[in-house]
Symmetry: C2
Subunit: 208 residues, 2 copies
DNA sequence: AATCTACAGTAACATTTATCACATAAGGAA
DNA sequence: TTCCTTATGTGATAAATGTTACTGTAGATT
């Protein structure tokens, strides 16, 4: 195939690519699918080859706090961390743009660490980058106020989708920041007055 | 030695223990020492054999937000994650109870992953448990209010020191929760009224 | 003892965020 | 069109947290 694993994971060795193709199973999921729920047992390591996934931390009261995005070429760190023990997932993963994912049985995860240097490096780098991302999340909620967090949220969304239009309702944004719709509406209005965004129904246009 | 590495890291193989003793250097640091600063380059993987360390995330304004404790038998995940690349530290580590740490050159980290199964498992388990701990931190600041966070803070402190007296000033607690001293004083007073603690100068006694 | 300093208590007020109530508007369905 | 549902705007108010200012007090220092 043209859009092959090798293009999406350029650092993987040729042998590793073959091994993945032999042992993994490529599956498609539509936007909206919950790929993994909090508390579920993890049976596969997940590599994203197409589309986008959002990773959430769920609160007891049903809150869905957005942690970060997963994109093609990346892997779910949680699904790697919960290795042989088949631990429970601490997070919820939702497809936000139709995805193709390579599902790799967990026992391969460990095996390949020893056999494929490029897999080892990928896993370590995945740990590192996800850990850093979570630390950035901590920064945001520990040190910043809601208006700054909202700006960060919008910027990240725009980076992820590669566009300047955010097609989300105020309610959806509020849920992902664990606040209320009114707060988001008001803060967005202030941002519009400052010339940072243009507000339309179900769409926020980023101006700078 | 009696209080040997083998006792502190019971899952390490005998060969691994010898290798660590050959390549690592055991160093002592007094309470109060900053073992690692945000932005510093990491040159060693750190194993704790005695004492206690607190890991903080630093804010731009000088805030010191407490993430978690490190205790004997544990390792600094950040110092493992920043492998060969010798990345900058994203955290600050402060000794809170005189420690002995085994400093292991970063290149060993990678090497041993291939050569020692018990090292590999220790590293993976370190990633997993630290990741989970950070996720719990996110929970706390994303979903809980300051009074609940304070109770959690006190409980964690008491777990870490194995005692029911918290010998910290209100100001120190406030700094680690990134709030102000007055807020902590108020909340502690309310907790005292609810019969949860007894307040003394420089000491908070946990009653339940 | 007199003084100093860090810590703690607390009132008053400001600010931020949450909640409630309701109005209006946009877009789809009938 | 008219009706209906969902999204948004906004005022009023409450609650939580942050800030300022001042008091008292315990313990150390002189």
């Amino acid at each position: 195939m043209q859009n092959s694993l090798k293009n999406i994971f350029p650092n993987f060795s040729t042998e590793l690519i073959s091994t993945i193709e032999e042992n993994g199973s490529l599956q498609d999921f539509e936007a909206g699918t919950i790929l993994m729920r909090t508390g579920q047992y993890i049976k596969n390591t997940v590599l994203i080859t197409k589309g986008k996934i959002k990773i959430y931390r769920e609160g007891e009261d049903g809150g869905e706090f957005l942690m970060y995005y997963l994109q093609p070429g990346q892997a779910c760190a949680i699904s790697m961390i919960c290795t042989a023990k088949s631990e429970k997932s601490q997070i919820m993963a939702k497809v936000v743009e139709d995805v193709s994912v390579m599902m790799i049985p967990l026992q391969m995860m460990d095996k390949w660490m020893m056999e494929h240097r490029s897999w080892y490096e990928f896993v370590i780098e995945t740990y590192r980058s996800r850990f850093e991302e979570v630390l950035e999340v901590v920064d945001n909620i520990a040190f910043r106020s809601m208006d700054e967090r909202l700006e960060f949220y919008l910027k990240r969304h725009s980076d992820a989708c590669g566009c300047t239009e955010v097609k989300l309702s105020h309610q959806e944004i509020a849920t992902e920041l664990n606040t209320s719709r009114e707060v988001i509406s008001r803060l967005l209005k202030k941002m519009e007055q400052r010339g940072l965004v243009k507000l339309n129904r179900n769409q926020i246009e980023l101006l700078r």
